[in-house]
């Protein structure tokens, strides 16, 4: 790439952090998630063991030990990778709904969801509770996507949420994002492709294959947009495909015939490698479309899914890392420095936080204010 030559889209995409840091093979992504899950499970068991030891020590000395009462009995039954993924998908849907409630633009919701998905590659839901993280992710996305929202207003719009709750995990989130905040979405690409197809359909530009197909283009546009606004966000397509591949795949689901014609206008048929190239492109798009189709673009999860999520939510409650429940307290301790705080104050704050965390621990997250 010379510094003055025209940059092609592929070269440009390859310099993005989305490509360099956040694109994976399915295998490597799975390995990451497995490692994260195992690491977290070990730490949960370890923390629970220590909490129990502390409790029996307290019992022996006769001191009050309410703080340990949250620690369940018996062997801790931790979540599997698949279970974590189901919960993350559920909370990503919640993020969409919260975004709708706050009336933020699509880009903000979409970016927030990718932040959540990226964060949970190296962090487990057993360590960091998704209902906390999703609020932070959505608030942070309003800043990175230039849709500024006052923190106090943002917190007010949710029940049982204080500004400090949202800020408590902001740093944690940015660290989990490896300080890369730019997310490349397929939305603008879709508008561009649709404009071009419309111009072909009306004969404004060359593309006789699409002549007179204006209505088909319009229908495909609407359906593809639905896929991009939900399925593309809730599946792993951003980790495996480029924005333009995701965009074309969503159009292909909408109207396969139309898109094959469109692709044929891009690859000259007299080009020697044309058949191979077309086959290769179609195969990739096919795989991407398959992945997209695993999540229907409806806003609500199916009843069976809801039931499963409810069970998983209960399971999560029993295997959360007891050391990581009080994020506000942990954050405060980090900022203020350990020595500056009286141990009693720390304990008192922790108790208060645990109490309110318990109250706020509604499985489906905080209810939205009407």
């Amino acid at each position: 790439m010379t510094s003055t030559g025209p940059l092609n889209e592929d070269d440009r995409y390859r310099t993005s952090t989305q490509y360099r840091l956040w694109s994976f093979t399915p295998q490597s992504l799975h390995t990451f998630r497995t490692t994260t899950n195992q690491l977290a499970a070990e730490r949960v068991r370890e923390a629970v063991r220590r909490a129990r030891e502390a409790r029996s020590a307290d019992d022996a000395s006769g001191t009050d030990s309410r703080s340990a009462s949250a620690v369940p009995e018996g062997e801790v039954d931790c979540l599997t990778v698949e279970e974590e993924l189901k919960l993350i998908a559920f909370y990503c849907r919640q993020t969409l709904q919260l975004g709708d409630h706050l009336k933020v633009p699509t880009e903000v919701k979409a970016t927030a969801i990718q932040y959540i998905k990226r964060f949970y590659i190296t962090n487990s839901v057993m360590t960091y509770y998704p209902p906390d993280i999703l609020k932070t992710a959505l608030f942070f996305a309003t800043k990175t996507e230039n849709h500024y929202f006052r923190l106090t207003k943002f917190a007010e719009a949710m029940s049982k949420t204080k500004p400090e709750d949202i800020l408590a995990s902001e740093f944690l989130l940015t660290q989990g994002l490896r300080f890369t905040f730019d997310v490349r979405h397929p939305f603008r690409a879709l508008e561009g492709a649709v404009m071009e197809m419309n111009a072909m359909a009306s004969g404004e530009i060359d593309g006789p294959a699409l002549k007179g197909m204006g209505r088909k283009v319009m229908m495909a546009h609407g359906k593809a947009r639905e896929y991009l606004k939900t399925s593309a966000l809730l599946t792993d397509v951003y980790f495996h495909y480029t924005p333009s591949q995701i965009m074309i795949a969503s159009l292909m689901i909408a109207d396969r015939e139309l898109i094959q014609l469109y692709i044929s206008t891009k690859i000259p048929s007299d080009h020697p490698s044309s058949p191979d190239l077309q086959a290769k492109i179609l195969e990739t798009l096919e795989q991407c479309a398959e992945m997209l189709k695993t999540v229907e673009p409806s806003a609500d999860p199916a009843p069976a899914e809801k039931k499963e999520i409810s069970a998983l939510g209960k399971k999560l409650k029993k295997c959360r890392n007891p050391d990581m429940i009080d994020l506000v307290g942990l954050q405060r301790a980090k900022r203020e420095g350990e020595e500056g705080l009286d141990e009693k104050v720390v304990k008192k704050r922790k108790l208060e936080r645990e109490q309110s965390a318990k109250e706020g621990e509604d499985l489906f997250g905080p209810s939205l204010k009407k």
Binding site: T4, L21, S28, T35, E42, N123, Y148
Partner: protein, 400 residues
């Protein structure tokens, strides 16, 4: 399929994971020590993310302080493994008075520098956090100060048309690259143009930068340091393009030639007056639609648009081709103003004299302290307005 430079702990696929682009050393390099599962026995100990952060931090040694400000401190640093490889470490302070979490200028700078890699844009080599959750940006070390320093030192530094052409070439390529990547810089001025040891000019300070907006979304007009702010922003336009940066580039060009800021307004009204005098009064004839902009007011009587002879008289040392390019960057109507790509295609670059080779460009010592000064500043502030007017307004104003 892409490989992440992240190392999968315990993965046998290490060779694949280490195939990285030249850029992948940003943030976390692929050869970072693999975090071991179960290493931390303490529940509140290191996460994978914290381990990666710690590894990154360990790569650098922080040296003496080059500058101290309310927004950031700047340190000289070097690679632990290679003490001769110098870096600048910009430590952004946690702003206690800012109660909305991570501040917008830090977010913008990180967001855009992480994505842009170009010889004429300052390189962000790494980011890590220190214990107190301050952000540390590891930037390439640029020891020779900035263009403002050279422009101001009229007695100490002599330069000519070939040198100006070299500097302008580097600036134009930088801004072309930003626009090609859909990023508006929104704070181009001589003291944001830093100079590397080999003479290369590097555009810095992306604290006011943003991505191009969608057509229906508004943007704030309160950006770009006043002297370099284009008329559309002074008139309160909420929809604008890369043309705002081009105006600033034109004014840097003018300043390089005459060695003093061309239009140094004391207030926004004064700035508009200076533009009307130096360029001409914007009206519906030379700029259709201008009178509809929210804050459009111009002084009476109106001045006609200045002709070529006027520019040749003031900027003649740039030569007729140079004057032609300058005039095209200072066209009032942003839709008619030249674009960065068109600038690169202009015939000035190929006309005589040839641009000076970067190694032979005039230099000035004392740049280290200047780098400290430049990097610690809040974005968008003139030296005389450290009260941070622009940045403050941007933080709390209708930031869209």
């Amino acid at each position: 399929m892409a490989y992440s430079p992240l190392v999968v702990p315990g993965s046998a696929d290490k060779s694949a994971a280490t195939t990285k682009s030249k850029l992948s050393n940003t943030v976390v390099s692929s050869n970072a020590p693999t975090p071991e599962a179960g290493q931390s026995s303490n529940g509140a100990g290191n996460d994978l993310a914290e381990q990666m952060n710690e590894d990154e931090k360990q790569k650098y040694i922080k040296g003496k302080k080059l500058g101290e400000g309310t927004y950031a401190n700047v340190y000289l640093g070097h690679l632990r493994d290679s003490p001769s490889t110098l870096v600048a470490i910009k430590k952004i302070k946690v702003q206690k008075e800012y109660t909305e979490g991570m501040a917008p200028d830090a977010i913008r700078e990180l967001k855009h520098l992480q994505e842009l890699s170009h010889p004429n844009i300052i390189s962000l080599l790494s980011v890590f956090s220190s214990k107190d959750q301050n952000l540390n940006l590891v930037l390439e070390f640029l020891p020779l100060g900035d263009l403002e320093m050279l422009i101001k030192d009229v007695d100490g530094v002599r330069y000519g048309a070939a040198d100006i052409k070299a500097w302008m070439g580097m600036l134009t390529r930088a801004i072309w690259f930003c626009h090609e990547n859909f990023v508006l810089h929104r704070d181009i001025k001589p003291n944001n143009l830093l100079i590397a040891a080999d003479g290369e000019v590097k555009l810095a300070d992306f604290g006011l930068a943003r991505s191009f907006s969608d057509p229906y979304r508004v943007m704030t007009s309160n950006v770009i340091t006043r002297w370099y702010r284009p008329p559309e922003l002074l008139f309160g336009a909420k929809h604008y393009s890369g043309a705002v940066d081009i105006w600033s580039v034109g004014l840097v060009f003018a300043e390089l030639v005459i060695r003093t800021p061309y239009m140094a307004g004391d207030t926004e009204v004064h700035q508009v007056n200076l533009i009307c005098q130096a360029i001409g009064t914007p009206n519906e004839d030379n700029w259709p639609g201008v009178s509809k902009l929210p804050e459009y007011t111009v002084p009476e009587p109106p001045n006609p648009i200045r002709g070529r002879d006027h520019y040749l008289g003031t900027f003649g040392t740039a030569g007729p081709e140079g004057v032609d390019l300058l005039m095209k960057t200072l066209i009032l109507d942003p839709r008619k103003r030249i674009t960065a790509r068109e600038m690169l295609e202009h015939k000035w670059w190929s006309s005589d004299p040839k641009p000076t080779r970067k190694e032979e460009l005039p230099k000035k010592s004392g740049g280290e302290a200047k780098l400290g000064e430049d990097l610690k500043r809040r974005p968008g502030i003139l030296d005389d307005e450290r009260s941070a007017r622009v940045a403050r307004k941007l933080d709390f104003g209708g930031m869209k």
